[in-house]
Structures are given as C-alpha cells and as structure tokens.
Subunit: 95 residues, 2 copies
C-alpha cells in the first residue's frame, strides 16, 4: 500500500476553479481498480491550501493513474491555478 499526499497552495482567486476540476479528478480516480481512497482536503486555517490525500494498492496502480486520461488532462490545468506546489510525497506506513 502506498499513500500519497499532494499539497497545493492555490491562487486565492482560483480556489473555486481548482475545486471544480479536482472534483472531477477525484471522481474518476476513485473508479480506478488500484485506488483505495482519493480525496481533496482543505486546510481548516488556510482555505487556499488544498491537498489530495490518496491510498493506492501499489506502484503499478499509481503508474497507471499517472497515465490515465483524467490525470493527464486535469492535472496540467490544476498546475496553472497554484501559487506553489504540488508538493508530493509518496509514503509507506512504518511498522
């Protein structure tokens, strides 16, 4: 199992646009076979910090996700709406 945290600092005037696009990405990603969970989270103190927290069964599933139509069309659009990021970490749970 691999957990991904992808943190974005979104331009203040682009928050709603980011959320709308992200909603579509979340919906399609959740349909993928190797996806355990995939959601967008908002920082409770800074509404322009928007972070994807994801769980995947393994690296192969993530590689397929990165090549998927929804990923390759939506992610470049999201990157135009950020001040900085995404800051991406792939994690495995410590025993």
């Amino acid at each position: 199992m691999i957990n991904i945290v992808a943190k974005n600092i979104v331009k203040k005037e682009k928050i709603e646009e980011f959320k709308l696009l992200a909603e579509k990405l979340v919906k399609e990603s959740k349909k993928e076979k190797g996806c355990i969970s995939y959601d967008l989270y908002e920082d409770i103190d800074n509404s322009n910090i928007l972070t994807f927290i994801e769980e995947w069964i393994g690296e192969e599933a993530i590689n397929l996700h990165n090549k998927s139509e929804h990923f390759t069309t939506i992610v470049p659009k999201l990157r135009e709406l950020v001040e900085s990021g995404p800051e991406i970490n792939l994690y495995k749970k410590c025993k």
Copy 2:
C-alpha cells in the same frame, strides 16, 4: 472529522531514535477516544522524511491529545531530532 498531516525532515543520524519515540506516541495516541487513525509514514524516496497522518473525530479530541502526557513528553523530544518541521496541516475533507 479532522485529518492531520505532520511532516518532519529528520536528521539522518537520528532516524532510528525518531522512529522509536514515534512508535510510543502512535501506540498511546491510538488509545485516545477521539482518535480514528494515527500512524507514522516514511517517504519511499527519502527515508528521513517521516510524517504522521492522523484522523480525529474533531477539534476537542485534538485539544485533549495536545495536552496528553504522551504528547507533551514525546513531541518535544522528536523536535530535537529534526532538520526541519514539523510542517503541520489540519484538514477537513472537501465535499
């Protein structure tokens, strides 16, 4: 529900010490009533990036956690072992 991501860049020579202390913090925190999940994760590409990913039922539970004996004794020790961090974000899930 509130999700916490607390990312630490740990001094390379202190990784094992950090993990040992974190193990105790994880174990005790999981016993708290308002804790849904609480685990330590290691970045798959950088073994000195160690991040707590947590789920709590709400702010009150987090306030109690921050005052708990295990938190107030272990967290200051962890902070001595990092190069930078913790970078902490509290999140709510976007609808």
